[in-house]
Structures are given as C-alpha cells and as structure tokens.
Symmetry: C2
Subunit: 415 residues, 2 copies
C-alpha cells in the first residue's frame, strides 16, 4: 500500500519551523510496512493545496495531511480536502460537545465563535477525538482510498496517531505489523551491520532496519502476520538472536526508554548513588541524567569544574598533577572521579575532561577526552579521540560517559 | 520569482533523519524575498525524481535540489537532473583536481574509483566548489530557469549556500536583499507584536517578520534596494526605531550571536566571574554557558545540588530553611546564590530551584521555579510559573535565568 504525506502550513515554507511531523509520520509508516514515496509541503493556499491533494490521490492509496485544522480563516485543510473528495461539511454534535468540554476544563470564560468551525466535519467521515486540543482528526474513505487529516501541533498529532491512526492503518492492510526496537550502545554502526549481515541478507519477515544515533545504534525488527500474536511470535526468535550476538551491548528493547533512563534504572536496582565531575561537558551529563523523572533517587549532586582552580578546590585534584600532566590527562580524570566520590560519599562518580575546541589547549588536539569512573572505590579510565565540531564532541563525550558507567555496573554484576 | 525545493533521499522518507535542510533553505529563500510555494521529498528513485523535477520546472523559476550527489550508485540526482534538462554529463578537470586535493588533505591513501563520478558535471553548467566535502554544487540555467543541485550533508550545504548560492540568487533578482536579525529576551511574543503593530501594518520595504523561540523573540528586518548599500540605508532607521522601542530587551543584532554568548560577552567586558547553583535544571544552565568557546574566561565552576543534602553540604543552605520553607522556595534560592558566590569567590552566582514534574513536590505545583542572582553581594530573586512538560519547563527556566543574569549586569551599568 502506497502512502503519501502532505504537510500544510505557510510557517513551514518560511522556514519558521522544522517539519518534525513529517519525520515522525514517515517513521511510523515505515514501521507499518507502508511504502512512502512522496512528502510534500504546501502553504495555506486553497488552489495549491487542492492540486497537491488531487495529484496525491492519483498516485497513492493513503494520503495523510497534517496542519491547517485550527479555528482561524487561514486554516482550510478540512474545507479543501472535503471539496476534493466531493463531501459536504456537516455539524458534528459529538465534536461540538468535546470542544465545549475542552474549554471548560482549561477554565476559559468564553468560547469565541470561530471555534465552532472545528465541529464541522465532512459527511460520512470517521471523526477521531483529539485528547490534547480542539480540532478533531478526520478520516475520509473515498473510492478505496483513505484521506486522513491530523492537527499540526506535534503534541496533538502524535498521541492521536498512536492511539487511533496507527491501528486504523494496521487494519487496512492484509497483515498486521508489529515491531521491537533494540537499542545498543558501546558498539559502532558498521560493526553492527557487519555482525548482522547474514540476518539482513536473508531477511523477508521479520526485517531489520538500522538507525544510527550519536554513540548509539538502534535496530528496528518488524514482523508481519495475520494478527498481533502471530507477529510477536515471529519477532521473538530474531530478538533472541540479536541478544545472543550483542549481549549486554543492548540496553533496552523498549522503544520509549533512553540510555540515561536505562542507566538510572540500573543504579536504582543496585541501590547505588551517583555524582558527576564535569569539565569539557560543563554540566551536559548531569543535565541529561536529570532529564529522567525520579533521577533524584540516585543522582544527588554534580560538580562543574571548568577551570583548574575549581578542579583543585572542589575536587582536590593535586596541583602537581595539573602542572605535570595538565588538566586534560588520565591522571586528572582519575583524581576528579576518585575525589568526587569521596567528597560526596557517593558510590559512583564519573568524570570528564577534554578539549572541545575550536582551539587546542596544552598542546593537545581537539577531541582528546579522558573519562574516569570511580565505582565502589575501583577506578577505570578511558582515553577518547572524538571527531567533529565543539557541540558534537561534547554530545558524543556524554554518551560515551553513560556507556562507560553502564559497563562499570555490568562488570560489577559479573564479578 | 517562484522557488521550489526538492529534497532527495530515501532516508528522509523512512523518517531516519529530520529534514533540517528544507527549513534552512526555506528561511534563506524567505530572507531573499523569494516566493516558496512547494517543498517536496522524493527517494533515490529515477522515475519519481524525474517526474517531480519536471513538474517543478513547469510551475517554478528556481528549483533547488539537495542530496543524492554522493559517490555511490544510489546517488542519482545529478544524472536525473541533467537528463531532465537535456544536458550531457562531461568530465570537469577542476573538480577532479579538487577531489584529489581533498583526499590528500584528509590523509587518504587511495581514492576509490566511484569518487570520480563526482567530477562529472552537466555540460555548460556552473560548478560550485565544495569546501567541506567532495561533491561540487551545480547550477544549470535552462530556458530562463535555474536548477540548483546541492550536497545533502548540512555541514556542506549551508556554507556552500551562504558563500555562493545566496549571492547568485540575490543577483537573479531585480533588487538586492539585505536583512538584520534583532534578537530580544525578557519580552513576550504578543507584547512585541502589539508594540510594533503600527510598523507591521505600514510596512512594505523594509518588512519585519517575527520568530518566537523559547523565552526569546527574534525580528527579521528585510529591505530591498538596487544594491547592498542602499538596502542597508533602508534598514538603518527601522533598526534604530526598534532599538528605541525595545531598548535593552535587544541583546544583539548579529544573526550568529546566541543569548548565552551575549551574556558571556557582557561578563567579559565587566571582568566578572560567574558560577551556577542548579537544582531543577540539573546542569543545563552551565552546559549552555559552556557551549560558548572561551566561556572559561568568566565561567569557572558550577554546582548541581539536586538533593537537599547537597544543597546543605555544598551550598550551605540552612537546615531550618529547607525544613520551614522547602527546597523550592525564595529563601532556598537566595541562600544557594549567596553561598555559591561566597564558596567560589565569584562576583556573580545564579541559582535555580523548582518543580519540573511530572509529579508535584512539597505540595507545590509543577512549573513553580525560584531563581536568584547574587551580583556583587546584592541578591535578587524571582518566582516563575512555567507551563508545559518537564523538558519544556527546564529549558524555559534556563532562558529565564540567562535573561535575569543579563538584567542584573545591565542594572549595574545604569546605577
């Protein structure tokens, strides 16, 4: 089945916003096993939208439009789509009630008239409730094709897609799709691809697709079957095989779990407290750890020791170490980690020192990073040579530190 | 003049990457005063790319294609575009030499044969040097239309556009475009729009466009004239008027300067040192400050005091304060800032404590944030009520802290 995306909104054509909806919907369509050949963006213009939709209906089976469902005069996606599909707009009592409810809940005193426009729907269409806003989603089925209208704000579009549109599209197909996301760290993309070359070559159902993130590799394993249960049965041996091959490199098979979340979870299980001692990353590691709700159970505090004096004063790094080896050295990283753990009474302390650039320092190259982990009084240190610009080096260093931390916890288990 | 974008790449259709090139190119086209009516994305497929390009050439004057210029078999943008434009591909000696040079510079031992594909160019086309990669850009002029091919990687596309394509497009037009970005903080989008309603209503040349970022408002002022000098002359009184109206809310009129950079610059000028004491933001503020190369001149160290014990131990917050008022209180924020400055001997310390959610704490609502600034021993504190989810609240709190810090420095100047 061929699907096509049309994003509607002059703000996208002006470059005011990045079209993240298209990326999200594309990934979901790939996940559903649908063939997506075209994405397009048009402004809030009746004629150009109508022409784009007409062309899409000639060449695709499912057309997903996003944006332009709001209450203002500019918003004309529903009006144009209904016209192209030959449908009249009729009032929908259910949507009217929901809009009233919505405004009552947010404590609005008055509902302006233009909001009722959002309760008009194309005759005979499927109305999809919006649990995060006022504009309902719409599905029109015309000549065996589906035209799906979704609200533009990502915090409305995504939950609506997940809850109602994904299952709808899944049912349209002769087979049901199910997938698992296998997330790994501490292994490179090409190494992963080489390792699973035989699986990829022989694959038809399930399939494996590789996604590279900074310092991580994600594999999506997707199966088709008559129903969800059968699809899951097909996934099981492949996921098991990946676990055999990559072992502890896999930090989760739960789509929603991030690396920092997995690490925090491991620390919680072992009842370990963590502190950070950051120089090059200037707080990015602690910021990322505290992205996780409930991080406070294990992460209590962190140091940002950007200058040498702070390394000495807050983390007790020896003057002679800084003088003889420099701030970017194995020895400094070790002392930062050791003393950070001691000063706070934490079980674990991870330290980072390095050169993010653009300028070199201490006659050492940009991208040189030392990180150390003090884990129950044992200290491990690593030297890294990272590529790219300042921001990239810093981001990569954070992921490498999380990976190192994870390895320390895993090794402790095995000992 | 009507312009249209075509992004080429199956990885965009699979949702593996977000199409940031389209947003960048759209903003640049808006800046050039070009009318952009359509963006599309097609995969690495000969037939679909050819059809999309043919249609674009019917309805637009300038067509910018990005991606698919690489050395592999998948990369077919140049081949397809040349065919659609009726041009043969011919070897380009200059590009061949540049590719050789490039590989020599990165220390490659051998250049694989497929790279020479990148030195083939459509006959009679303008070849645009790539200073950050091997695939040159191409401009084909056909029947009064321009077809522009750019490499896909953003770190190649952006500098090439800025250096060569922007001036080329500017020259195509009867008038020259010039613009200034006026960046503000500490003022809301709707307040800005109300304040400049008269300017926007009366505008034709220059024009003013509003862009809202988290905690910031940016205004792009764009003028058209016979040449750059005349355009700049038109911009001057409008920028002056904006400065009159918004005064110190404007932190820069330099497109490339970020808020954190502006703040670091002000601290440098006044020779002030800064420290941070973060709870809710967990290091995000220090991470953002250290994004700026050379931040180390003023920012020496920071504390992440996530738990109460760390607030007591590292920042000497009184036990009675935490007990009687709670960690999220004006009094705690003040003590964090005051003692952070004292402990490190810094001139300035900014502190943040609050509730990011999803759960409430201390019977206080999600989004409640206190931030304090100790500035040369004077302490100011602010209470904020921020909306949105955890990540949004934390991000917004960081911008508000930078804004507060800036205000403290400004007030010091005025006293």
């Amino acid at each position: 089945m061929i699907v096509e995306l049309i994003s509607v909104g002059t703000e996208i054509l002006l470059g005011n916003i990045v079209n993240t909806n298209a990326a999200y919907l594309s990934e979901q369509c790939a996940l559903l096993g649908l063939s997506l050949y075209y994405q397009s963006v048009v402004g809030d213009n009746e004629q150009r939208l109508a022409e784009t939709l007409e062309m899409a209906m000639e060449r695709s089976d499912v057309i997903i439009l996003s944006g332009g469902l709001g209450p203002t005069q500019d918003d004309l996606t529903k009006e144009v789509a209904a016209k192209v599909c030959g449908k009249e707009l009729v009032p929908d009592e259910h949507s009217k009630n929901r809009i009233e409810e919505y405004f009552k809940n947010i404590g609005a005193r008055k509902i302006t008239d233009n909001n009722w426009k959002q309760a008009m729907v194309p005759e005979g269409s499927i109305v999809v409730d919006n649990h995060n806003g006022t504009a309902p989603g719409i599905i029109m089925e015309v000549n065996g094709k589906s035209v799906i209208l979704l609200p533009g704000p990502p915090n409305e579009l995504r939950p609506m897609f997940e809850r109602d549109i994904f299952p709808y599209l899944n049912k349209l197909q002769p087979e049901t799709i199910s997938s698992v996301m296998v997330k790994m760290c501490g292994v490179g993309e090409s190494a992963v691809e080489t390792e699973i070359q035989d699986l990829i070559n022989g694959q038809s159902n399930p399939t494996i697709a590789t996604y590279a993130k900074t310092g991580e590799v994600h594999l999506r394993v997707t199966a088709k079957a008559v129903d969800e249960k059968e699809a899951k049965k097909l996934l099981k041996p492949v996921v098991k095989e990946l676990k055999n091959r990559f072992g502890t490199k896999i930090y989760t098979i739960d789509e929603k779990v991030s690396l920092e979340e997995a690490v925090i979870e491991m620390l919680k299980e072992k009842e370990l407290t963590l502190t950070t001692a950051e120089s090059i990353t200037g707080g990015m590691l602690s910021a990322r750890l505290t992205n996780v709700p409930g991080a406070s159970e294990v992460f209590k505090q962190g140091f940002v020791t950007y200058c040498n004096r702070a390394k000495r004063k807050l983390l007790d790094v020896k003057k002679s170490t800084l003088k003889d080896y420099g701030a970017v050295s194995e020895k400094t990283a070790k002392e930062m980690a050791k003393n950070g753990a001691f000063a706070t009474g934490s079980d674990v302390c991870i330290s980072l020192t390095g050169i993010a650039g653009p300028a070199t320092e201490e006659d050492k190259p940009v991208g040189l990073v030392y990180m150390a982990c003090s884990y129950n009084n044992k200290i491990i240190v690593k030297e890294l040579h990272l590529n790219g610009e300042r921001a990239k080096i810093r981001e990569n260093a954070v992921v490498k530190a999380l990976t190192m931390l994870r390895e320390c916890i895993l090794n402790d288990v095995e000992e």
